[in-house]
């Protein structure tokens, strides 16, 4: 909390706004005043105070390394997050993300990995694009042999430009519920092979 607040003071923008943000923490980790942190911070995607942030967490019966490996291959992300159509990996740090977008008009942006701690954490942020956004995923051993805790944070700025009002956010619905549902399906897939389907809503 303090780290991210003081960063805000320093530079006028915080990387990921709200206090306690894992992403902010990861970036602010060493020294709030250091030139390096401040410089990285000034490249932030989401201006402080203007973003929307969600945080969701699930415990999954699966080793952290396996979960990390799955997320680190960013091309897998559309299989987890329903708002994404595809992610093309450009190089080790850069990738091109395409979301489904409003009225099925795809929206693309470039993203870069800004933190990569094998088995523990991956963080990314957009570079340019109409919806500045950032996110992170953290993997931690759950207590008492309960598997791995998966903590996901995402933040995005209100969209500007042409798409304007028709584009409330990246997700096309209640982002908290969408991300939660996506992660729940991910958990079910890792644990049981496939997410539950009731059949009631499937038209035959």
């Amino acid at each position: 909390m303090n780290a991210s607040r003081s960063l805000t003071f320093l530079t006028g923008i915080a990387l990921l706004g709200l206090g306690g943000s894992l992403i902010a923490r990861s970036l602010a980790s060493d020294d709030d005043g250091s030139g390096e942190t401040a410089e990285r911070n000034s490249n932030a995607s989401v201006p402080y105070g203007s973003g929307t942030r969600i945080e969701k967490a699930f415990t999954i019966e699966c080793p952290a390394d396996e979960l990390y490996a799955y997320w680190r291959d960013l091309a897998n992300l559309p299989g987890i997050m329903s708002h994404l159509e595809r992610v093309e990996v450009i190089d080790d740090l850069r990738s091109l993300w395409t979301a489904k977008g409003p009225a099925n008009v795809p929206v693309s942006w470039e993203a870069e990995i800004i933190d990569d701690t094998p088995g523990e954490r991956i963080a990314w942020r957009s570079v340019g694009g109409i919806v500045p956004n950032a996110g992170s995923v953290m993997f931690a051993q759950a207590p008492g042999d309960r598997g791995t805790e998966l903590h996901v944070e995402m933040e995005w700025a209100p969209p500007g430009g042409a798409l304007g009002k028709s584009f409330a956010n990246l997700f096309g619905g209640d982002p908290g519920l969408i991300v939660e549902t996506d992660l729940r399906r991910f958990k079910a897939t890792m644990e049981a092979g496939y997410p539950a389907i009731n059949g009631t809503d499937v038209k035959s």
């Binding site: 415990t59 019966e61 309960r146 598997g147 519920l177 939660e180 549902t181 729940r184 958990k187 079910a188 644990e191 049981a192 092979g193 496939y194 997410p195 539950a196 389907i197 009731n198 059949g199 009631t200 809503d201 499937v202 035959s204």
Partner: protein, 394 residues
């Protein structure tokens, strides 16, 4: 296919539905040979369970033959005769791994609804509202079952449907109700409700070493059936339940109290409970009457076990009694999977004959009459088994 379909409070009919299909590689389709109506179905039928919708297919106690499996199903195959627990397990989440299958993390596709109602979702249930998954139920010719490897239990060839069917719910439910009451030798166990769940609970209590079981109901034929199992009985319309329990246990009160009635307790004239505590607790008789009475009537340091289903919030919960008498309350939808192997063995050993709970075997098409009979407790109705393919069999 034909299936029992809900059309609003007190209204069901047998309608045509599309045949279920394999939707995930872990699914199987079961052709239902026997399916039963449960007291839990009556709560939906009577309109007390949230998120039940018109057009829903009821039924969570069913068995039959597997006719199709998804590509990832390894342990069962077409042609296998199986029974299917009403609580759906994924088999691999932390709760499933620890035997708590009714608390499965993964089997409820509408988890967000259950999260809203309960804080955290529990397992999906067949034919039991959208908050519990919206799975079409088993009072039908065919059912799609999810995570088939974790949920389809093969039934020994020589065990007839009538012996195996109740392993899907009410036998494990009665067993868990008694087991979680921590019955010790010498214990007196009071059981509210002599419906099918009470019937299995009474026997389970004896099997677990109860010295004495006192069963409470008002339906004469059900009290008679409880006595046939060796229980003493109290007709709550004739006798004061609390006073009778107190005197008959020489002032100790029953050591264990089990609520096999749930949210639709029959209401009746105010009795001692109300007389004694109404002033201080402002106790009212609504449909949570039984749980309140059980808490009041149970002896000090006792356990109150609640297999009876409650859906939401109840008023005037006597927490002061729980605290001061040092009570333990235990409840839950049944972790059916955990109990099936052991209880199956008990059936095969002849230690219990579940088929004796059946009062009626009818074709599926008779479901509307069967529900009416079961809800009105007429024609000595205890447990109805429906046969979807009765016509072909005859």
């Amino acid at each position: 296919m034909r299936a029992v379909t809900y059309h609003g409070t007190g209204k069901i009919s047998v309608d045509n539905h599309p045949d279920p299909q394999i939707l995930t590689p872990y699914d199987a389709i079961v052709r239902v040979t026997s399916t039963a109506i449960c007291g839990s179905d009556l709560h939906m039928y009577s309109g007390y369970i949230p998120t039940v919708q018109k057009g829903d297919v009821f039924g969570h106690e069913f068995m039959g033959e597997i006719v199709e499996t998804g590509s990832e199903v390894k342990k069962v195959a077409a042609g296998d005769r199986v029974l299917v627990p009403f609580t759906i397990a994924c088999g691999n989440c932390n709760h499933c791994r620890n035997g708590m299958t009714s608390l499965c993390d993964n089997s409820n596709p509408n988890a967000w609804m259950a999260d809203m109602l309960l804080g955290y979702t529990c397992s999906g249930l067949y034919g039991y509202s959208h908050a519990f998954g919206g799975y079409p139920g088993g009072q039908a010719e065919y059912v799609r079952i999810a995570y088939a490897d974790a949920n389809a239990f093969k039934v020994p060839d020589d065990l007839p449907d009538e012996q195996a069917l109740f392993l899907t719910d009410i036998f494990p439910t009665g067993w868990q109700a008694a087991e979680q009451a921590d019955i010790a030798p010498g214990d007196t166990v009071a059981v509210w409700g002599c419906g099918p769940v009470g019937w299995f609970t009474i026997q389970s209590a004896f099997l677990l070493g109860a010295e004495r079981v006192i069963a409470i109901d008002r339906i004469p034929y059900r009290l008679e059936r409880a006595r046939a199992l060796g229980a003493d009985t109290i007709n709550f319309e004739e006798d004061d339940v609390v006073e009778t329990l107190k005197t008959t246990t020489a002032g100790r009160g029953p050591d264990r109290a089990i609520d096999c009635v749930g949210m639709e307790a029959h209401s009746f004239a105010p009795d001692n409970v109300a007389d004694k505590v109404k002033q201080t607790l402002k106790l009212q008789f609504d449909r949570a009457h039984v749980i309140r009475q059980a808490i009041y009537a149970v002896g000090k340091g006792g356990v109150v076990s609640v297999p009876g289903v409650y859906a939401g919030f109840i008023d005037k919960f006597p927490m002061g009694i729980v605290v001061n008498k040092g009570l333990t309350i235990r409840s839950g939808q049944t972790h059916v999977h955990k109990h099936v192997p052991k209880l199956l063995e008990m059936i095969q050993d002849g230690r219990i004959d579940p088929s004796k709970v059946i009062s009626h075997v009818l074709p599926l098409e008779s479901a509307p009459e069967a529900y009416k009979m079961f809800v009105d407790k007429v024609d000595n109705c205890e447990k109805v088994v429906l046969k979807p393919f009765a016509a072909q069999a005859a």
